[in-house]
């Protein structure tokens, strides 16, 4: 996790909030550094994490995780991390008997209508442990990322339904958190992606949006991060809840600074 980002979000692993949906989105840049941040953050916060990783391999996340101070191998072995490696298990779907349910079953079906098998996988993975002492703090679902489900043929409403059920189970029933990444292509013609992004935005408590700089690539400033806090159903008197920072990604950390205040130009 990146300590500077924790400061901006005013949170630490011991004081992590519960029952929240955090939406990560990126536009014209790669927002996966945010995924790595939250993965290591919640592992350090002693939460049980179910990671639906559809984009990269386990070893990729493990290597980055080690730079950030967590070992995914150890977490997986002791049961803290349930890792669905999309790239590997998608192949299993085709070599498995059809009767057995598989979380990525929709890949096999011609007209997969919903992501219920994937939801059942998440629900099973984050089931509370029956023994008396709670080993882990709260369940967390992390998805990298949801846009790829659209490319694999699911409709935006099916993905929204999947997240709806995850919210009902993980956030409401079990007081856990969800963090999901969605790409924003910026193309108004991509209706399905826009419905997914906007639909999730309305349900989120926190939106982190990584954008490339409007002026193009820069060696010292990799992009801009917009942070928007929302309270979808409680009225708040304080409305000043949006911040924008620029950032630079380094080998083991990300540094944040106010717009125009990059150390390279000061």
């Amino acid at each position: 996790m990146f300590p500077e980002l924790n400061n901006l979000l005013n949170t630490t692993p011991d004081r992590a909030e519960q029952g929240k949906l955090t939406l990560l989105c990126d536009a014209n840049t790669d927002g996966s550094f945010l995924v790595h941040h939250f993965l290591s953050f919640y592992l350090k916060a002693n939460c049980k994490v179910c990671f639906v990783a559809l984009i990269q391999s386990f070893s990729h996340y493990n290597i980055v995780g080690q730079k950030l101070g967590v070992s995914l191998t150890v977490a997986r072995e002791c049961g803290q991390l349930v890792f669905l490696e999309g790239l590997k298990s998608s192949v299993d779907v085709f070599f498995r008997a059809q009767a057995e349910p598989h979380p990525l079953q929709f890949l096999r079906e011609a007209n997969a209508e919903n992501l219920q098998p994937l939801y059942e996988f998440v629900r099973e993975a984050l089931k509370p442990v029956d023994d008396g002492d709670a080993a882990w703090r709260c369940p967390v679902l992390l998805v990298d990322d949801l846009s790829v489900l659209l490319s694999l043929g699911m409709g935006a409403v099916a993905v929204l339904d999947f997240i709806h059920y995850c919210r009902a189970t993980v956030c409401w029933e079990r007081k856990g958190n969800i963090v999901a990444l969605v790409h924003d292509s910026g193309d108004t013609e991509e209706e399905e992606n826009n419905i997914l992004l906007n639909g999730l935005s309305h349900q989120s408590h926190l939106i982190l949006r990584a954008e490339g700089l409007a002026t193009g690539f820069c060696r010292d400033v990799h992009g801009q991060l917009r942070i928007l806090w929302r309270t979808p159903s409680q009225p708040t008197t304080q409305r000043d809840r949006s911040l924008t920072y620029q950032y630079k990604i380094q080998d083991k950390s990300v540094s944040f600074f106010a717009k125009g205040m990059s150390p390279a130009v000061l």
Binding site: H164, S201, S233, P235
Partner: protein
């Protein structure tokens, strides 16, 4: 502003907000990601409940617990809640799901209501619109008001008020337009500098539609606090406006013209502009040879060849 004017302005704003409920029919609350509308929906529900109406809520987007938060117990006991959040698509197969899906629930709502003023809150219309065909939803909304009017058997004024929360960014112009045409009132939420505003478009029967803008905030106890106008500029912006810088100040050269220079510039005729004076000058031959003369001093390297250089041209 004299106190009486202020008071009048206050009651005027209250009336405008009251008319949202008073007009009955379909009320669309159109919100956006930045300016959420659920708290306004809850504030209107509270108003309706305090006014003695029956209130039915179709809850799809947030849990019943979260929705009921903020209402006090007397109001909460009056709200009839249909929970479509926990298991809307019946994946759990527990048999507890409401039959007929959301449309069935809308119909059931009409059958369960007693005659009299009823407010139905849909949280949210967007949720329904994404999963049901637009035509079916519009027909269901029309049927609701017809059914209720039939059962009431009462005065011509409609007794049913349907508050629908709609997320602007989720739908195309077609469905939005269809719902708009069914709506008696449309409240569009936006804001500036941390203050929310509501643009209220009322379509009263046999009158021209009226458009009003109100600045408001919803207090933690879900009552509405209406403000007079947009917030003062002294509030610090999260994104400070860069001050206007005059690029022509502090220069080492002069970019401005004095009055005389400006007059001279304006009276100058451009060389290729064919004005009437120029035309006269050309038509009338000059008084003598041209006043300008050319003096030429050949120097050492000049090659003065008396021969005509174009002599070999066969012209």
């Amino acid at each position: 502003v004299t106190p009486s004017e202020g008071a009048r302005g206050g009651t005027g704003r209250q009336l405008e907000m009251e008319s949202v409920l008073a007009l009955r029919g379909l009320v669309l609350l159109r919100d956006s990601v930045e300016w959420e509308g659920r708290s306004l929906l809850k504030a209107l529900i509270k108003k309706a409940a305090l006014g003695g109406e029956q209130v039915h809520i179709l809850g799809c987007e947030v849990s019943e617990e979260e929705f009921r938060a903020g209402f006090d117990s007397s109001i909460n006991s009056r709200l009839v809640y249909y929970d479509f959040f926990r298991d809307p698509l019946n994946w759990a197969q527990t048999g507890e799901a409401l039959p007929g899906g959301p449309l069935g629930a809308l119909q059931a709502m009409c059958e369960r209501t007693d005659p009299g003023p009823v407010t139905v809150a849909l949280d949210s219309l967007s949720w329904l619109l994404l999963r049901l065909p637009c035509a079916a939803l519009c027909q269901a909304l029309c049927a609701m008001s017809r059914q209720h009017a039939c059962r009431g058997g009462g005065p011509a004024a409609e007794q049913l008020c349907v508050l629908g929360l709609l997320h602007r960014e989720l739908h195309g112009p077609g469905p939005m337009g269809a719902l708009s045409s069914l709506a008696q009132t449309e409240v569009t939420l936006s804001g500036t500098a941390g203050q929310a505003s509501a643009h209220i478009l009322c379509r009263r029967p046999r009158q021209r539609p009226t458009l009003e803008t109100l600045w408001f905030s919803v207090l933690p106890d879900l009552s509405l606090d209406l403000q007079g106008g947009p917030p003062l500029e002294s509030q610090p912006h999260p994104d400070p406006h860069t001050p206007q810088v005059d690029p022509a100040s502090h220069l080492t050269f002069n970019l401005h013209l004095s009055k005389r220079e400006r007059e001279a510039k304006d009276s100058l005729t451009l060389p290729f502009q064919f004005s009437s004076e120029k035309q006269q000058a050309l038509l009338r031959p000059g008084p003598g040879p041209a006043t300008s003369r050319i003096f030429y001093e050949p120097d050492v390297f000049d090659d003065l060849d008396p021969e005509d250089p174009d002599g070999d041209l066969d012209v």
